[in-house]
Amino acid sequence: MPEDKPLTGNMRPDGQALDREAYERAGGYQGLRKALTGMTRAAVIEEVKASNLRGRGGAGFSTGLKWSFVPETVPHPRYVVANGDEMEPGTFKDRLLVERDPHQLVEGMILAGYATGADTGYVFLRGEYKLGAQRVAQAIAEAYGAGYLGKDILHSGYSFELYLHLSAGRYMCGEETGMLNALEGKRANPRAKPPFPPVSGLFGMPTTINNVETLCNVPHIIRNGAAWFRGLSRSKDGGTKLYGASGKVKRPGLWELPMGTTIREILEEHAGGMRDGLRLRGLLPGGASTDFLTGEHLDTPMDFSEVQKAGSRLGTGTMIILDDQTCPVGMVSNLEHFFAQESCGWCTPCWSGLGWVERILRAMEEGRGQPGDMEKLAFQTRFWGSGHTFCALAPGAAEPLQSALKYFRADFEQHINEKRCPWK
């Protein structure tokens, strides 16, 4: 295995998925064997804690710590859910993992199940990921055939069932309690917390929810150890990260790099820099719901704490690049349209405020901006902060807007004063 790229280094260059045998030849299912034959549940959790693996779904919560919240003594059944909803605009990393190495996810889920004492797992996958769905279904079938799933796995006494659920489509399904409602056959509104899912989750039972990329790291941590995993990283957070860049760069793409690689290295070396004739204006470091950064932040290492220090969030680690020939107001308008459309309608500041903001931004783009609009926009974002809403959709919607008002103020004012979009 290319030691520095555990997640993607084994993937086939021809775009096909690794089948079970190829995955096993690359060391696959050795982590599971090691855990089931020689490690207690608590030891697996300790190893994952010590690896400094932090959740790749956006919030960066310690995975080992999350697993330790499932009480030892609770009743059964307990559940594990892989979050493969990936509807965050600008994010295209979990698609690669499910399409090209589905057994890596299956093994990660069994290990998460073992560590939390779960009986059943669900892979919750975006309905549009048809190829990924086929390949995950195939991998699950192969894993059952080889005795990695089902009753008494590898004669360890541990049993685990794994099913694939294809979403019917809505951004809220990615929010973890919305996802639980979707799996129960309901509208994917989130749930009031507490209780939190490790105590009362799917069908009211203890449930652990992790992002696909998070789970894919686990087999490697168990097989090679926490110290090895920490050593892959250039920062305190362990491991590698799938980083992406989209927008008008020379080579948009996705790369597995050490956690903590700088924005500059990703942008200039891997994405090849801006297209000829274009300059960088700003970027969203980790999907639609992260604050803009600008050219002054290029030397920021892309890890959870450093991006936060720069005023944004690592989020999903897939950057969206804004160039100097693209209208920042138009970009923010596109983003807020998305959030307004996907709001589930439970909290007034979210559904009402987003609709209002969407209309103001659309008006600005069409030359109907009014004096005072900037203040109205800023006013709304203050009601979207944590604590005013049931879930993180509205706080996420605030991030690109509030930072655009800071960095691209002159562009907003120009739209209002000139009563037109200067880019059209």
Binding site: E88, L131, A168, I320
Partner: protein, 154 residues
């Protein structure tokens, strides 16, 4: 009434969940696959098997982007309207499609061949602009390519 095939496919999902109600999204997707969309009668058919009312099912169906409560064309075009595709000019692909098909976003062509739907980021942003037609993803779109792609869906 559900066809034997629809019924068998839905029942195959039962063991995956602790109760029948949880199967309802899968069940609606299965019936939609066979019938194209979910009419009131389709919801009644599903409800009888799952022990749910058509109104309950409607409440669920209307939350989700990929469950259709109105008829759609033989082929559904899902054009990504999210941010990376927008930066890469998806507005142009959208106006090309609306002009060529003679429909606005959300509408179906008069011959019932295509429905054009804007959709959230398809997770292929490094190949923007992107669309799906039925089950196939089409990356790196240009207007000329769109014309050629549409010919493949009679």
């Amino acid at each position: 009434m559900l066809t034997p095939e629809e019924r068998a496919e839905i029942e195959a999902e039962f063991p995956h969940y602790p109760n029948r109600k949880a199967v309802c999204i899968d069940a609606m997707k299965i019936v939609q696959k066979h019938r194209g969309w979910l009419s009131d009668d389709s919801l009644k058919d599903i409800g009888e098997l799952l022990g749910m009312s058509a109104a309950d099912l409607d409440g669920v169906a209307t939350f989700y982007n990929l469950l259709f409560r109105r008829p759609v064309g033989r082929h559904v075009i899902y054009l990504c309207d999210s941010v990376s595709c927008w930066i890469m000019g998806s507005d142009r692909q959208c106006s090309h499609l609306t002009k060529r098909l003679g429909v606005a976003a959300g509408e179906t062509t008069a011959d019932g061949r295509f429905t054009l739907l804007p959709v959230v980021c398809l997770g292929a942003c490094d190949h923007a602009p992107v669309m799906m037609v039925d089950d196939d993803t089409h990356p790196d779109l240009t207007p000329e390519q769109i014309d050629r792609i549409l010919e493949r869906y009679p």
